[in-house]
Symmetry: none
Subunit: 212 residues, 4 copies
DNA sequence: AATGAATGAGGGTTCATTCAT
DNA sequence: TATGAATGAACCCTCATTCAT
């Protein structure tokens, strides 16, 4: 008796599946769901079209796996956060910074989210795993707010959903819409300093939003 | 007020062009640029494929026209705003409410913006008209801030771009990402009351962000 | 005002459609529905794949058109029959000879019927036209039988359906199953004399089946 | 009676091979040779694709095995027939009834024959076993005819091949073409009484065909 | 101004089959 | 004996686009 994935062949298989998934993240991220080509993915994965169907069944199911993957990755990163609730204001700053950094460093997370929303969440709806992955959306934020409230720093009537949406909005939009924004604002949003400034601004803003 | 061209034939032509443009807005809005089908557009416009090429030259040029159209429409709506600068705080609330309402009532504006950003602004970049339409992004916001500053209500070190991004972020994200958010938050974002509550929240937040 | 299909372009279009249909008859006849390749058909028709979809919509609809075509052709041939009811026995011989000859000269009629039956009549069921073409199956046979009965030559208790099935069976099977029969019988069914002998045999048999 | 091989492993192997063969009969019968999928067969056999190649070598060789199998089964059933030649007319009725019943109860025999004929007997031609199985086609019929002739009941100039084809035609066509016939005749050929009536009719007809 | 006819490239997907253990 | 992994060819079909009136 042995675990599912020992043996040279099985390990190679895992690697193949993984290569396809990672290639799919890249391609869907750049081209969207409709624009992403199966052949492009299989080539990038150094595999062939057939294997995508072997492992994932269809383009749609592959995309669903991609969705699950990027959410799981985000959750994993979040789980590594060690936030000291002793200083709730600093804790909030750290959470905002984490989310902001994650979006900046993982543009594929932003674009795939955007793609999925353009498709009206139709793939997310079909995923069982995704539902399991959620529910934790406000898991890190809640204790911070509660700690701040306990210390009398934050307001007592804060709607946790509003707080979450506030942070997400401020981190997401800058990244998701930077291309059209560049046409409309006379600022280079890709500039390092501009990004740093924005992080300071939204951290302050978030605090102002929660403080008494 | 008069039609662009005179003569029955010319009017019919204008109408055909218009039908196509409006159909394109709908289709691209729902299906994205890659997913939007020429045939679907021409059918919806009660015309035929060939006419799209006759009037717009290519799918890409049609999409650019769509971009120009939705921006022009937004500008038109904004131009009708009559905001009293006598009460800068109230003025800001009204601007936030206007943008929020516009996004809510024009989901195609949001989705087409998202689509264009997924394509990294490649169409917007090709439009001359679009560049002319821009530059006015902060045109309404600036006098409000200046009025507030003059009255000592708003801080003096406000970065106008930050202020603009703040408002846009808070109005856009809720609408653009509502499908995936629904999976992750235990709230129905489509609910009327939820929307009204959010508007109150972001109006307050915007003020907190600008006040001394 | 002009009829639908005048004009050089329109005539060419008709020809294209016709070429495809005739190529489809040949290919489906030889390869069956599943085995028949779209590309093979379009190549044989000196057209291209796309036109098949332009004119017929799908492989299945093309096959349905083929079914309608071969039935219509059979009906047309049958309609040209001029059978003298004055001699009912001779009339029956002529009908049997007609059906036999038609099957011999139109092997595609036999194979496409066989194909459709292997598919359990699923295409025929979808055709409205086909239902209209039927109903006339026993149209030629009935007056012959009635004439024979009027003259006291044929039995009065003949079931017209049985009579029809009898003739069809005897004409069809020899043609449809000649390949496997060749393996089992020590006779060359393709031989001209063998065919002539069989026609004599089944004509006699049909008469024996109807006579008093 | 004993299994072909001894030893647990060997028996299991026989069972696997048998499962595949029976699954293949079902699938090819329903889908034809081209339409029958290797995977469908292996799934139905609760085995896997690779085993089909292990035991049969290729899809084509599997189909040949299926052909041999259904012919052998028919021969086996025929071999069990105990026909009393003392009453040649009754003997003929019994033979017709046997063939008719076999076709009715073994639709897969009919459809696989039809499939093989659509493929112009190309598989049958490749089978050595099949040639051995044949030659016996008229083996049961011949003594009946000879007995009838000896008693002066049947004509002396009967062509045994014609007699055989007559019976086969009348039994086969009703079953093979029932789907298209249903569209053309206002009769439900699947009806039990309709089948019984047809058997009476063709038994009588066969006798009329052979009698003096 | 308007439109049926035509096209070539490529889309996702499935096929029978072989490899490697 | 048995089976997961892998493959290349080809399948049906759709795409944006141009031709020819």
């Amino acid at each position: 008796m042995q675990t599912r994935k020992t043996g040279v062949r099985a390990q190679q298989a895992d690697r193949t599946r993984d290569n396809i998934l990672k290639a799919a993240v890249k391609v869907f991220s750049k081209e969207g769901f409709t624009g992403g080509r199966i052949e492009q993915i299989s080539t990038l994965a150094k595999s062939n079209d057939r294997m995508i169907y072997y492992y994932f069944g269809s383009k749609e199911k592959l995309f669903i796996s991609v969705l699950e993957h990027i959410y799981a990755s985000f959750n994993q990163a979040e789980a590594k956060l060690r936030i000291d609730l002793g200083d709730p204001e600093q804790a909030l700053r750290e959470l905002v910074a984490f989310i902001w950094d994650y979006y900046v460093r993982h543009p594929e997370f932003v674009t795939i989210l955007a793609t999925e929303n353009l498709h009206q969440g139709q793939h997310a709806r079909k995923s069982q795993n995704l539902k399991a992955l959620s529910g934790e959306a406000v898991g890190v934020l809640r204790p911070i707010i509660e700690a701040g409230q306990a210390k009398g720093l934050f307001r007592d009537d804060i709607d946790i959903t509003h707080a979450y949406l506030m942070i997400a909005s401020l981190c997401y939009f800058y990244n998701s819409n930077r291309h059209t924004l560049s046409s409309f604002l006379a600022v280079d949003l890709a500039d390092k300093q501009a990004k740093a400034d924005w992080l300071v601004f939204i951290s302050d803003l978030a605090l102002r939003g929660l403080r008494r």
